[in-house]
Symmetry: D2
Subunit: 345 residues, 4 copies
């Protein structure tokens, strides 16, 4: 018996990745595809501009799309690939109506009683669920995953916390798929770099503090670090590459950092990669086209770990933005919730 799952916002870039990753999932089965009004009643295969692979998975091609309305959706879990403004209203309605909402949208990420989760980083923050349900009187609840750039960064920062991390500077080179579809016009990015992504730097600077924070039984106490981000769009299809300077409160060396990266253990979940962080020793890796699919897109790859100063390390980290950074993140969160007993069986 599999859990029944719905995808909210099924035709967009992230919606497509949800559908692709959920094909043949051992625990989850798509039973509803919900989309904006104009698509209701239409067949998924006829409406979607499918661009993530050659063919639309057969299990959804003839599925009729339904409204973004709890009454029309038959599912235990609602995966949300909605734009943030729509998510704000719709996700709340689904949670109220008893759904477990596993959301990739930013709307609720920084809300006090909503867990913002990367399973390998802060699984214990799921305990906010009880607080959320109690406070709001909802039958269901909302759990979110971070922004794609944040996830890749924070997976690499987590093991550095015990080494005394206090200050992070990150310059990103982000993939086109992060802007969705149609997203970035080809005329804007061919032979070009765009040194700005709207709203991105704020997310990358704030979300890590919650993710790396501590649950004190009632709320998340933010981590005492500072993150400064400068975000750029580059002509790469998938895979965010991030240049990181990590400053510590004491002297640090490369081996300590490398050992810390390797020490982050995967959970035993269907979408868990064998290695959470892959450390490459070549001086020209990671590269997005070569490394984004590691661990089926669920590993992050680190390289070029260099000591800059007594307490300053720089390195490159890369991850697949629509898998580990979006749809795969929500699915991993749902798997964690299933395993931890947060889903009704």
């Amino acid at each position: 018996m599999k859990y029944k799952v719905a995808v909210l916002g099924a035709t967009g870039m992230v919606g497509q990745k949800f559908i692709q990753l959920l094909e043949n999932h051992p625990w989850f089965e798509i039973t509803s595809l919900a989309a904006s009004e104009k698509r209701i009643g239409k067949f998924y295969g006829e409406e979607v501009n499918w661009i993530v692979s050659s063919n639309i998975p057969k299990n959804v091609v003839d599925m009729e799309m339904v409204a973004l309305n709890p009454k029309d959706v038959d599912a235990d879990i609602a995966f949300s690939a909605l734009p943030s403004d729509v998510a704000k209203k719709v996700e709340e309605e689904f949670a109220k109506a008893g759904f477990v909402v596993a959301s990739n949208a930013s709307a609720f990420r920084m809300v006090d009683d909503v867990p913002l989760i990367i399973p390998e980083v802060n699984a214990d923050h799921l305990r906010l669920i009880e607080i959320q349900k109690a406070k709001r009187g909802w039958d269901g609840f909302i759990v979110t995953n971070p922004n794609c750039t944040t996830i890749v960064l924070v997976i690499s920062l987590k093991p550095l916390m015990d080494l005394g991390l206090k200050n992070v500077k990150v310059a990103t080179m982000q993939a086109l798929s992060g802007a969705g579809f149609p997203g970035v016009p080809s005329l804007a990015i061919t032979d070009n770099v765009i040194p700005f992504i709207k709203g991105e730097e704020e997310k990358v600077e704030n979300e890590p503090l919650k993710l790396l924070g501590r649950f004190d039984g009632e709320k998340i106490v933010p981590a005492n670090i500072k993150v400064s981000a400068s975000c750029n769009r580059v002509p790469v299809i998938d895979g965010h590459t991030e240049v990181v300077w990590a400053e510590f409160d004491k002297e640090i060396n490369v081996d300590q950092v490398k050992d810390a990266f390797k020490s982050l253990k995967p959970l035993d979940l269907p979408s868990s990669p064998k290695e959470v962080i892959i450390v490459r020793d070549e001086n020209d890796r990671p590269q997005p086209r070569l490394d984004r699919d590691e661990g089926k897109g669920m590993s992050v790859v680190v390289g070029r770990i260099r000591k800059d100063d007594s307490n300053l390390i720089k390195y490159i980290v890369l991850g697949h933005n629509t898998v580990r950074g979006a749809a795969g993140a929500s699915i991993l969160n749902a798997e964690l919730m299933a395993k931890e007993g947060y889903l009704k069986s």
Copy 2:
């Protein structure tokens, strides 16, 4: 009467830019093209794989190439577009033989008695010429310009020195033309980023200290700042984009930085741009394809100046790597020397 100039290493990417920029130059006229042994005696137009524009300039198409040998070259100035290992030997021979060598190669940049010059930044360092000639007993001399990434960066750092700059972090997104021709294979960089450029970070971290240093009458006293660089190759034809964090020894604000950028004045030389630093206020500029040709490639363009912390500013700076960052840099240096009387007339 124009100065006679030679281009050493005339068929490569930077050699081609020298030829392109020197076409119709008001002060300089190409009289010799020198290249590696196998090309000697061949016509430039038949040997070169010309890729910087549609047609090879008419003044050089039928020029016979000569050896990298002072005896075979008839010129006052030798512009060097040689690879560093060749430059080491050849440039010295030319200087010995009485030539003014204006070099884009890295071989002599950090040598104590060799000026490393950006005219708007440290024109007074040309006074090392007398020391060089005296010490070595040469008839001619060598003057160098910095690495392409360094030039773009340091033009933006120069006006910040008086504000108390002490620490710089720079993550670069560098153009393909920086690797010369054939350079980066298309299979290596399509849909990709390469987070490493051999030898680049060392240059970007060291050259600024000399450039921003002080000539004390005998030598350059390095500037008391620290630069940390992380250099990346991106699929862009021309134009290096650099993400900069600049830390000061006191509180700083955006307007001070902006005013400082605008205060850097152009010199009155044929290749001088009208504005050395163009400050753009849009939040998505500078972009390489749109902004690299500003000031015919001799301006650098700055944008996204943001305050990060009380004494920390971040911004983006962009410049044309083969014009301001290479051939144009050497030519501007030669123009400065002509004006300052360092060339025999």
Copy 3:
């Protein structure tokens, strides 16, 4: 005294090229920029997403946009960069109201009494103007230029007509700018080719028959040739590259074809290139990035002329799709009309 000109559809890709090409034009001066309803009353510089060069020309940056309404436009000539469906209604209104409409839109191209003009190919078709005005009782009139792909192709076909051309097959590799802005999503075209452009093949197959046809005093008698097209989008910013097979009704050789290409003479107009067709002898030319700007984008470049069979020739032709193929085409038409006395002075 210059003619006053308006640009209809001023903010799109082709509208921007009109503005760029009209800056400092010796005969024409922009007096009105007309755009869709939501932009009326707004300043051009604040509304446009300018992507064709670094800066918006100063003469239009502070121009207030007006409605697509003859009453609101003060001009002698209205250059139309409108989408076809809008053009149908608006261009007629402007012509009725006495404007000379020089249109890049497809709406009226194939209408019997509307000239479809490439000045070097069929200037005499302008005589349809009298017929158009007489028949419709309009004060002004409409003159059109062909589709971008057609223009490049037909300039190369014109000189072949006298050699007995009868059958043409053309496979195109078309630039991104041909789809306007935002146009082709980067995710759709990076590392990809799209073998289809909506409505394009029909235009490329039909328009040449009119262009190469004969004005019999009353109407255009279509040329007796057949064109078959297969149109593809490739990741190139500007410049359409076309692979052509030209079949003749008698034996033909490469020299005849080459001589014919070179025999097509430019007119003496401000935007005329020095050479209409540039023939390159290298076996790997023309290439869009290297050759699209020949003649300031108004030349077409031909290469790889090969004999395939006794009466079959194949070659490559390339032209700048938004200059010679769009805005520049309309402007050249207007210049021709000015010279030929079709404009009131």
Copy 4:
């Protein structure tokens, strides 16, 4: 028990694809990697610039490379990914020494007694093997596969032969990987198309006549068709897209052609795709990034079948140039030979 196989030319682009496709092959096991002199005795993992995926397969990473010499190679089959000039000498030596040479090189393709094979097209041409061995007195023999562009084209032409195909025009848009590594410089192809590939058109025009010819018991009688090709390089990583005009000796319609494509049956071999030709009905397919991996890269995909004239059809065909068009082609040939009993067991 698996056949032992060697890869000759193991470090190049096609050599890498052989290794990738042979990992876990049910019938073949790599026992030798042969390369040029300077690599002998070195470990594959240390020498290769691996670019076809994230990691070098574990079975070869520590394999020591051997000389291109039959004495040093322990294998039943030698897969040749050698450049044509080297192949000429080396492949002959291996065949003489008793190896079955399955070659992707062009050196022997058009030699009378050497089979040029696409299993689904002309498996019966393998009977040339007996003739080759008899004539040359070799213990082994050479079997070749066609050029990458030819394979994709001819798979689509084979089913059209019975419909009266007589004349083919093909304009190609070929992937970067077809030029090997380092291959096409990024500066040469970014924002560009190169309308020429050395030697390619000759291969595409000649090889189909042999492939589609008839074995008369002694030799191949070439097919009585004519092929004209115009070959272009485009900025696509993998996948050749080909625009085809097919002219028949009688009237033809789209459905006949579509049915013919679908009628080409796969063989029952480990690398056979489920469908040899996939026909897509959307008007914008096939596209290289979306369709090149169909059938694990062994299917070709056809689309846009249109009637042009009573006996003229045009369509697009696409295939993976380094899988179906190179390494996969040789492997499929070897599988066919194994099944047909041409390999000693």
